[in-house]
């Protein structure tokens, strides 16, 4: 496959997954913000989003202050924000358009339709159908596009690059969502185990569709340690770091290629540490420190995917 085609496929899948995760993150934040007692400072949850995505500067350039309305507009509809849902969907569509010949026509039509609909919704604003209805719509379109990919694509290299993009992005996003607690709690360390704490952790679970799964697996109170274990180490939890990196490693193995050993080794190693890791050790290291380190490793794998497949030197 053409290097540039693989590049577009990978980013198409990443952008779609990012749109979904941004919607999930905004949805949970929006819900948290409705619980007045949730945080000490007003709009602290909203600034947490900026910390997680590293967008403080970009936001400051465009909006006078952090509040729910500004944040929703900035993260959902604002095409001036490269990480907004609108930008991600636009990105997915631009990449899909560049490789129409390599994806099934159903996939193209779905992504194109999503983009057209996004423009209509952006023009009307979020107020028309309500904020949560918009996030539900984004999630639904992402589910649909992933389902169509799975249901209509030949299991070839193109399929592998699509899955690779989806799961690398998901690993990145789940790690960031899990880290949200760290950002919200700083600087005012509230008592652990209080009502606010409970709501926040359950909101984190809900944001990755893991609330029911938690109940099923632990049949017990929600504790930070178990939430972290579920979202980091459980291989049967579809949005966990372990499950995501497992697919990443498998896809890299399928794609292969003569210069991919180093890349495969890195992904395999990361997967092994998740597969055999213990939550006690992660907490001993510090959750935030662990997640920061994990994000660095993910970025490193992304860079190696770039230099191995997308921009190889002409040897």
């Amino acid at each position: 496959m053409l290097s540039s085609t693989a590049d577009h496929l990978y980013w198409m899948a990443r952008s779609m997954e990012r749109a979904e995760n941004t919607a999930r993150m905004l949805d949970v934040t929006y819900r948290m913000s409705l619980l007045k007692h949730a945080t000490a400072e007003p709009f602290q949850e909203w600034s947490a989003i900026l910390s997680i995505s590293g967008l403080h500067y970009e936001f400051g350039q465009r909006y006078p202050e952090v509040n729910a309305e500004h944040m929703l507009r900035f993260m959902a509809l604002d095409e001036g924000n490269p990480a907004s849902i609108a930008s991600s969907l636009n990105n997915a569509r631009e990449n899909a358009r560049a490789v129409r010949g390599n994806i099934s026509s159903e996939m193209w039509e779905t992504i194109n339709h999503t983009w057209i609909e996004m423009r209509n919704r952006a023009a009307q604003g979020l107020a028309r159908d309500g904020v949560s209805a918009f996030f539900d719509w984004v999630k639904e379109r992402s589910h649909l596009s992933r389902g169509i990919t799975y249901g209509t694509m030949l299991r070839d290299e193109a399929f592998c690059f699509l899955r690779l993009g989806t799961f690398l992005e998901r690993a990145d996003n789940t790690a960031r969502i899990l880290d949200v607690k760290y950002h919200i709690l700083l600087p005012s360390l509230e008592e652990v185990g209080g009502a606010a704490d409970y709501y926040q952790w359950s909101a984190v679970l809900r944001s990755v569709s893991a609330f029911e799964a938690y109940r099923k697996v632990y049949k017990d109170l929600i504790t930070p340690r178990r939430v972290a274990e579920l979202l980091i180490l459980r291989a049967d939890m579809p949005r966990s770091l372990c499950a995501s990196i497992s697919v990443v490693a498998r896809m890299l193995h399928s794609i292969g290629g003569s210069s991919s050993q180093d890349l495969q080794r890195r992904a395999g190693l990361l997967h092994a540490t998740l597969d055999y890791g213990r939550i006690e050790d992660i907490f001993a290291q510090g959750l935030h420190e662990y997640l920061t380190d994990f994000l660095t490793k993910i970025r490193d794998i992304g860079d190696h995917i770039d230099s191995t497949y997308f921009w190889p030197t002409d040897a």
């Binding site: 053409l2 290097s3 631009e94 358009r97 010949g101 497949y309």
Partner: protein, 468 residues
């Protein structure tokens, strides 16, 4: 009254339209309205769009599609097809000749200076051997019907003619919307065009490569015809590449893939000559591939169309095509040219300047309906402006009578009304000359307008060649 494809001047339905006319009369208007809406929704969803230059707001636009087909009787088509083959054979022979021995110039049949000092003449191509001596592998020949129904060649498009994807999509749409119409009539198929195209491209591979790698080279997704590039690549099952996907080493062209470099044999390029290779042509081109022309010249890769075909479809050369047919084929032209005045000639110029309000004036190197004057539709200021331009640079222009292009019934806001049409058949030349029956019919949707270009608000129709 211009010639109408469906009705005689006495308003009787012509025989080859009878089956369609019966169907139209028997189908309730609401059904047709619903089908027209369905067509529009489907085209949007599938993303069959066209980018229009210089119009930021409408960066992607749908080309309007009309459901009334343009029908051509099979015997009429047979004659047109023979004329098209003859014309394209002569044009290819002309291109080989002027880049080699220049017999036609030596024989004094075409003024040598008009060819050799034309900006479209590529000296770089002198003496270059191309497989099968074929230059214009894909030719779009625009035909119009005027007067009592005579066909004329309006212009030859031998560089990177576009529109064939609309021909294919229009047919698909008609079969989807009105399958019953196809059940009752024998409409000649066009769906195999991509197969013929791939065959043609494979037949001009350099050397004796058994399983050549063919790619389609596009300027990228912001080009107005990008949809077509992607569509054709997908239909042929070949890679759609941009300049940055290719590189040249030892006069051999490779594409960058996830498994390393892969050698390329034939490039169906939809990039103009000027942008192909920054080392030879425009230095500032970022669309092309450095070193491509050297690889081409040394016969290591085939470009379709060849470099330098622009000289043959230049409007200054158009008047000489009948002579080319006589010279190279030893035959009389089957398809006629539109009478044309050369403004470089004092006599012609004097006549044209006196009759501007009746004539169509075209820029010699222009294309796509840009830079032309349609006398009867022009304002006084526009005519004055053109008069000055002609006086300043007469060689840049030709003039033709304003042809009363034939009309075809078309759905417009007020109902069904006649609108002017033309026809672009696509002629493929490789080891043999092939074409699918019909072509792309373009329709000027604005009342009385004669400009059918999609960049100027034209639409398209399905074109049927029907066995009588």
């Amino acid at each position: 009254m211009p010639y109408d494809e469906m009705y005689t001047p006495e308003h009787a339905v012509r025989p080859h339209y009878r089956a369609f006319a019966d169907w139209l009369a028997a189908t309730p208007p609401e059904v047709i309205q619903r089908k027209r809406e369905e067509a529009e929704i489907t085209f949007h969803r599938v993303g069959i769009t066209f980018a229009v230059y210089g119009e930021e707001a409408g960066r992607e636009r749908l080309i309007p599609f009309d459901i009334v087909p343009r029908i051509i009787p099979a015997d009429e088509w047979g004659l047109m097809a023979a004329g098209l083959r003859q014309r394209v054979r002569a044009l290819n022979a002309f291109l080989y000749d002027i880049y080699h021995d220049q017999e036609i110039l030596k024989a004094g049949r075409i003024p040598a200076q008009q060819v050799l000092s034309n900006s479209q003449y590529r000296k770089e191509m002198l003496g270059v051997e191309v497989p099968g001596r074929t230059y214009a592998h894909i030719a779009g020949i625009d035909l119009v019907r005027a007067g009592a129904g005579d066909y004329y060649v309006l212009e030859d498009n031998l560089r990177t003619p576009s529109g064939v994807s609309y021909m294919l999509e229009d047919r698909k749409m008609m079969m989807r919307l009105f399958p019953d119409l196809f059940a009752t009539q024998r409409v000649a198929p066009v769906e195999h065009y991509p197969d013929l195209l791939l065959d043609t491209l494979r037949s001009v591979t350099p050397g004796d490569q058994v399983d050549p790698t063919v790619v389609l080279l596009t300027p990228g997704q912001f080009n107005s015809a990008y949809f077509e590039h992607a569509f054709l690549a997908q239909q042929m099952g070949i890679e759609l590449v941009e300049g940055r996907d290719l590189f040249v080493r030892d006069d051999t062209v490779y594409m960058r893939t996830t498994r390393g470099p892969v050698r390329i044999d034939v490039i169906y390029r939809r990039i103009d000559d000027d942008f192909l290779d920054p080392q030879v042509f425009r230095e500032d081109s970022v669309l092309g591939v450095p070193g491509l022309f050297d690889a081409y010249r040394s016969g290591r890769v085939t470009l379709a169309n060849a470099v330098g075909t622009g000289i043959a479809d230049d409007k200054a050369m158009y008047i000489h095509v009948p002579e080319m047919i006589r010279f190279y084929c030893g035959e009389e032209p089957i398809l006629a040219n539109v009478p044309t005045w050369e403004l470089g000639k004092p006599q012609d110029r004097a006549y044209v300047l006196e009759h501007l309000p009746e004539l169509v004036v075209k820029e010699v190197h222009g294309s796509g309906g840009y830079g032309m004057l349609v006398g009867p539709a022009a304002t006084r200021d526009e005519i004055t402006l053109f008069r000055e331009r002609i006086k300043a640079e007469p060689e840049r222009y030709i003039a033709q009578p304003t042809l009363a292009l034939s009309t075809c019934p078309t759905f417009v806001e007020s109902g069904i009304a006649p609108r002017h049409i033309d026809l672009r058949p696509f002629v493929l030349s490789g080891s043999e000359v092939k074409l699918v029956p019909g072509g792309l019919t373009r329709v000027a949707l604005v009342e009385n307008s004669l400009v059918v270009n999609s960049s100027q608000g034209g639409g398209t129709k399905d074109t049927w060649v029907v066995q009588g």
